[in-house]
Symmetry: C2
Subunit: 163 residues, 2 copies
């Protein structure tokens, strides 16, 4: 595949598609930011709280697996949640390497106030529930494919010239 086989059109299309994903992500982020300001949470902090509300106490590692975030992102984020009084972090007794994240009473209580967030987000999207679910499914399929491609870096490196 030579470069001349890929017209500028493709670059233009790429701009539209990759831009629309990052724009959508930032737009979502910005709407969540407004709604979450009341709760004193950022969007990633909200995601962490959702995981904890759903599963109760979890090791940092497990939180990271649910959200695909590593310790480099989670450690400072969890410290901020702890400083805000929403969680406690405690070294696990059975494995001293592991740190368990517990909800405080305040953290548990915040769930009540968070209940109204999703509906307001849905209202802001103007999408029907079905449509959101459909989008959700597509995005997950996309993510799975991209992850597979990223994991197999070598294959990705060669797609351009080794069929």
């Amino acid at each position: 595949m030579t470069t001349s086989g890929a017209p500028a059109d493709l670059l233009h299309l790429d701009k539209q598609i990759c831009f629309s994903l990052s724009a959508a992500s930032r737009a979502f982020n910005s709407v969540y930011r407004v709604l979450l300001k009341d709760l004193g949470l950022t969007y990633p902090q909200y995601l962490v709280m959702l995981v904890l509300w759903e599963h109760g106490e979890l090791p940092v590692k497990a939180v990271g697996e649910h959200l695909r975030l590593d310790s480099g992102t989670l450690s400072p984020l969890l410290k901020r949640l702890e400083a805000a009084g929403l969680v406690r972090r405690e070294r696990s007794a059975r494995d001293e390497r592991s740190v368990e994240v517990h909800l405080t009473e305040e953290g548990t209580a915040l769930r009540e106030r968070a209940q109204r967030v999703p509906q307001r987000i849905m209202a802001a999207t103007g999408f029907e529930l079905d449509e959101l679910r459909d989008l959700h499914a597509r995005l997950d399929r996309l993510t799975a494919a991209l992850d597979a491609a990223a994991r197999d870096t070598a294959a990705l490196e060669e797609t351009a010239d080794c069929p």
Copy 2:
């Protein structure tokens, strides 16, 4: 609308949907990161270059409008592109407030090597062109709705209790 009207299910669904968007965005980012390493570009830098390749020289302001990014993000990013020798920044003669971003020869030449990126991305997604276009359209519609909602913060603040 009371909180008891919003069952925990909605929080669970919200987790799935908002998580899948941020996950998709990060997965895309990570695949682009691999492909763009060759070109010495990050993903946002690539977006800026796409805009410049398409439109030629532009004031910083215009670049920001194309990508919905503000000067706080663009100023340091453009400095890095300048340090890499891909663009020059020059105060506009006719309006000294404005800074025009020009492609250098090197920046223009990079376009050739960028041509192959979109196809490799598409291969990584495993999506057909039509499907990507469809996703693109949905995401844009979503972004437009979210932007409208965010812009009208007051309305958003009230959706929960003031019909």
